[in-house]
């Protein structure tokens, strides 16, 4: 905080520009020989394949960059088909076949529009025949619960099915890959294009590195082709340059855009990337059988299978540092949960790993360590998708590594980084919480009834502190299945002598009329004021808004993110579907026991949801109490460039 303020206040107050203005182009980042870009984008032995295959515009500074999150997608339908076939499913089969053929019909129509210009019409015809054949198998992957039963083939459904269908096709018929490629969705085509481009650039970079190994700066596999081609020949790259020019248009130059554009997340329905990621994966995840259609872009795994496997691998020689490995296992098992706890655990593991790190021969610390951290991050991401706060912390750390002065010796650099991490944990998490508590307590008056949902560490601290101050208030803890985290909070609060009421989320509209304040925690707060938090938060906030009860969201500023999200679909995390189908200890209500494997049942256990900013009265952060409309200001002023401290 201090260096930043100093830079702003060094002289007399200046004229500040408001509204839209073009920033000086060289202000927000350093020039080409920047150690960041060189160190992070140079292909290095550890992550060679990863880097070359990753899409160009993503810098490795981004922790949740898609190249880092490998998954395993098993051949999707074979196993499920075989497991399913014995299950008798025919009762509705005539009807089903009817609707299916209808879907197929519209599917074909749909494709005709896309494909009509394709030269490989014969292939297409062939594949169409196959489609029909496949769909005549009673329980093919094309069926979904909602679609097949009720609908005439609506347009959107058919699109969804198309994607599913094409996955199917390719697995069934590898020989048909060429025409099928034509029919891949736009995102897939684009991904493929980008992958090819990256590969090309990488190849060239390798070539140019041989003569000039000293100028490692230019050998960036991750950079866009335009950048990579600068020193080397232009000959075979004109096409890609042209295309990127066309795409770029009149937008600011490459680096600007790279900085401005939010990096795309890994889309798990993008099979080419998923395949690549799978090859590198340490954690062997098994794909869930009945994936929810709408959430195909998110990783959906079988839960509870990886832990024994990983535990047995603990003593194998592995690129992952044992401390990081341990933290990863704790993520999987759920021993560490909650945004702050996960982030602190990760940072401390990195601290430990940095302590044990020594630079191999013929490598520089900044590059090699960044690569190491990348591999750790990808491992942790396999264990459980990273939260946004962890992403910010990783960005901070990588930024720190990249900005290390070259004159430092290795031990000095390591000590430097460790103290940086320590400082981040202290200032941005622990101290920030204290400040939040200090602010939020002023909003608690005697006689208040405070409602909280789930278990948020910040809210817990606020309640305890208010109790210590002797304020007279009552707490309503609203909780929900399957995690029932509120019970833990309840236990701790009751232990401290607070008077509490415990209710399930079903009762929230009943209990809300007596509530005077709602305190909520958040996993992240996004640039449009959307609060990304434990699923159910949006519901509580909405009910509170309807009852005109002020909703206070407590969130440390390091969890703020410049992304904008409008719904909880495009980015989310899926939990164990069994958790919602089974109630442990209640044999009498396990109605779903036999059906969880059936094809037309898809269990959706979302972990997060997005609360629109309309329902939030105030966001309490370490920078004070701000309205949700001011989140972009904080992101712009304090979270820019991940300076943080």
């Amino acid at each position: 905080m201090d260096p930043r303020r100093a830079s702003r206040t060094v002289s007399d107050p200046k004229i500040r520009q408001v509204g839209f203005f073009a920033p000086p182009s060289d202000r927000s980042f350093s020039g080409p020989p920047d150690p960041i870009s060189t160190s992070t984008s140079t292909p290095n032995p550890v992550t060679t394949t990863a880097n070359t295959s990753s899409p160009p515009p993503i810098s490795d500074l981004s922790p949740s960059g898609n190249s880092l999150s490998p998954v395993m997608i098993p051949p999707p339908r074979h196993s499920s088909d075989t497991t399913h076939r014995p299950v008798p499913f025919p009762p509705v089969s005539p009807l089903r076949r009817d609707t299916l053929s209808l879907t197929v019909g519209s599917y074909n129509n749909n494709n005709n529009i896309i494909i009509s210009s394709s030269p490989t019409a014969s292939f297409y015809e062939e594949s169409k025949g196959i489609t029909v054949k496949a769909s005549s198998v009673p329980a093919s992957g094309l069926t979904t619960v909602s679609v097949v039963k009720t609908l005439p083939p609506g347009f959107t459904e058919t699109i969804v099915e198309k994607v599913g269908g094409s996955v199917e096709m390719q697995n069934d018929l590898p020989a048909n890959s060429k025409p099928l490629k034509e029919r891949t969705s736009k995102a897939e085509r684009r991904a493929l294009q980008e992958a090819q481009r990256a590969a090309k650039a990488a190849a060239k970079a390798e070539g140019s590195k041989l003569p000039a190994t000293t100028s490692g700066a230019v050998a960036s596999a991750n950079a866009k082709p335009t950048k990579a081609t600068k020193p080397s020949s232009q000959k075979n790259d004109s096409a890609t340059v042209a295309s990127s020019e066309k795409k770029g248009g009149d937008r600011p130059p490459e680096k600007d855009r790279k900085k401005d554009a939010p990096h795309p997340r890994m889309q798990y329905d993008d099979k080419s990337r998923v395949e690549k990621a799978k090859r590198r994966a340490v954690v062997k995840q098994t794909e869930a059988r009945n994936r929810v259609e709408l959430f195909r872009h998110l990783p959906q795994y079988e839960h509870g299978t990886q832990l024994p496997d990983l535990e047995s691998k603990f003593f194998q020689l592995d690129p992952v540092h044992p401390v990081v490995y341990k933290v990863g296992l704790q993520y999987i098992s759920g021993d560490i949960s909650g945004g702050n706890a996960r982030c602190i655990a990760m940072l401390q593991a990195f601290q430990e790993a940095i302590k044990d790190y020594s630079t191999p021969d013929e490598k520089t610390l900044t590059r090699d360590l960044t690569a190491k951290i990348n591999s750790y991050v990808s491992f942790l991401n396999e264990c459980r998708p990273l939260s946004i706060s962890m992403g910010n912390a990783i960005r901070f750390l990588k930024n720190r590594i990249a900005k290390l002065p070259l004159t430092l010796s290795e031990s000095e650099a390591k000590a430097f980084l460790q103290s940086d991490i320590e400082q981040f944990i202290n200032e941005k998490i622990i101290l920030a919480d204290k400040v939040i508590v200090k602010h939020a307590v002023t909003k608690i008056r005697d006689g208040d009834v405070l409602l909280t949902y789930g278990s948020s560490s910040a809210v817990e601290m606020i309640l305890l502190h208010a109790h210590e101050l002797g304020k007279q208030f009552r707490v309503v803890i609203v909780d929900s299945r399957p995690k029932l985290e509120g019970q833990l909070l309840l236990r701790r609060l009751v232990g401290k002598g607070l008077s509490c009421t415990y209710a399930n989320i079903n009762a929230v509209s009943y209990i809300m009329h007596e509530v005077t304040r709602v305190f909520l925690g958040a996993s992240s707060v996004l640039s449009n004021g959307t609060v990304y938090s434990r699923v159910g938060t949006a519901c509580v906030a909405m009910v509170a808004h309807e009852f005109r009860v002020p909703v206070l969201v407590c969130c440390e500023a390091y969890k703020f993110h410049e992304r904008v999200q409008l719904d909880s679909i495009c980015s989310n995390e899926l939990g164990d579907p069994d958790a919602i189908s089974k109630v442990p200890g209640r044999e009498d209500i396990n109605y779903l026991d036999g059906c969880t494997n059936s094809e037309n049942l898809q269990l959706l256990n979302l972990i997060y949801d997005a609360t629109p900013s309309d329902y939030v009265s105030m966001i309490v952060t370490d920078y004070g109490m701000v309205p949700p409309t001011s989140v972009p200001v904080i992101v712009r002023e304090y979270c820019r460039d991940q300076v943080w401290i």
Partner: protein, 409 residues
């Protein structure tokens, strides 16, 4: 945010047509630019002697000042109220110690509160501007030899000013903003003391000047929103709103004004009086007739005691309900407020702020068993406001918080 003040509009206008406009604008603000406080003592002010600045802690001093400046019939019943309540013997020591603290350091007879009170007597000078002037005088009178000393002295002075009246939002905000604006530069630490001190004085003066001009700037900015033939509803007496309407009348705009009565101190009567002098058609309403007349109204203009971080305003009681009625009938609600009223407060609801109490006069004796709501102001949430006219420009409510964040963090 101060250095971004839209005062250029005013300067520009003055340069453009000096002959007629300066004549009109220099009629009243001449007294504003004088640096020595005028020595006029109104009879009411004499009653509140500076060494016991808060004669009755239950009544907001801010509203006393306002009453002295703006109300039609005030002094007599205020005096009665004071006499009725009497003095609390135990509230005098606190202000006295503060008063002793600030001047005794320099051993001089200079006192912020005195200075402030002198400035405050000018009916045209807002309380916050008086405080800013007083604080500037502190710097000038200071005999400190180091920056730290000066800063501490300034801090003490501003604290004593703030504690003089904790209910006044603009006073607190003005003091805070002054401190931020004047002392926030690390460059001060590298200069030698004298140049740093003169820089501070220079800034303090600039700040005072901007604050003084603010009202004119707002009046200029708001002219685009007043169109011919419109009907404007105003609530209470706000000097900024009066300035806006006065400027509009001078610009030969045709409009009429509905004034609410503004119980209990009937500030609306005073405003209607002023407007009638300007030959603006005025209609006076009782406060409860707002919804009845709202369909005739084109826009609502209100002032503000304070603009809070959410973008909402704290203003005289009744503003909230007017805003609600206007919102439900889709009429725009415009707020005219100088930027020294931007306060770091974030009320969540009406009861979430320190209440400013004032005496209520119902005309008849109230039985002792009947409770009287005596709060003087309410909070209007930002969703019911359309635009804020400030000397920083015309802002939407959400920008207020952005400005505050930039300034304070």
């Amino acid at each position: 945010m101060w250095w971004r003040s839209a005062s250029f509009i005013l300067d520009h206008r003055l340069q453009e047509d000096p002959p007629n406009n300066i004549a009109s604008s220099s009629k009243e603000p001449d007294t504003l630019s004088t640096l020595s406080p005028p020595q006029t003592h109104s009879s009411f002010m004499a009653a509140a002697d500076p060494f016991n600045p808060i004669p009755n802690p239950k009544i907001s001093a801010y509203y006393q000042t306002r009453a002295a400046h703006t109300a039609v019939v005030t002094s007599d019943w205020l005096a009665q109220a004071q006499a009725a309540v009497g003095h609390h013997p135990d509230d005098s020591p606190a202000p006295q110690t503060q008063l002793l603290a600030s001047p005794s350091a320099s051993g001089k007879s200079f006192c912020v509160i005195n200075e402030f009170n002198n400035w405050r007597k000018q009916p045209d000078l807002a309380e916050a501007v008086a405080a800013i002037r007083a604080l500037a005088a502190v710097i000038r009178a200071s005999e400190a030899t180091t920056m730290m000393e000066l800063e501490i002295e300034l801090k003490k002075a501003s604290d004593s000013l703030k504690s003089w009246d904790t209910t006044s939002i603009s006073l607190t905000a003005g003091c805070d903003l002054f401190m931020r604006y004047v002392t926030r530069t690390s460059a001060l630490e590298y200069e030698d003391f004298n140049s740093a001190r003169s820089r501070l004085i220079e800034r303090a003066e600039k700040f005072g000047e901007i604050s003084c001009k603010a009202r004119r700037i707002i009046a200029m900015l708001s002219q685009d929103f007043i169109f011919d033939g419109c009907t404007i509803l105003v609530h209470g007496f706000s000097r900024v709103v009066l300035e806006v309407l006065k400027t509009a009348a001078q610009n030969k705009k045709l409009f009429r004004v509905f004034c609410t009565e503004g119980r209990p101190d009937r500030t609306g009567l005073r405003l209607s009086n002023e407007l009638a002098k300007l030959d603006v058609p005025v209609k006076l309403l009782i406060d409860s007739a707002v919804a009845y007349t709202m369909d005739e109204v084109d826009m609502v203009f209100v002032g503000a005691d304070g603009v809070v971080e959410s973008g909402g305003i704290i203003n005289m009681m009744g503003t909230y309900q007017i805003a609600l009625v206007a919102h439900s009938m889709n009429k725009p609600v415009y707020v005219a407020a100088e930027s020294y009223k931007f306060a770091r407060l974030y009320p969540l609801d009406q009861k979430d702020m320190a209440p400013a109490l004032r005496p209520m006069d119902f005309g008849v004796p109230i039985p002792s068993k009947v409770e009287v709501e005596r709060s003087a102001r309410d909070y209007t949430p930002p969703q019911y406001l359309t635009l804020l006219f400030t000397d920083l420009g015309v802002l939407t409510p959400s920008v207020v918080s952005d400005e505050l964040i930039q300034l304070y963090l």
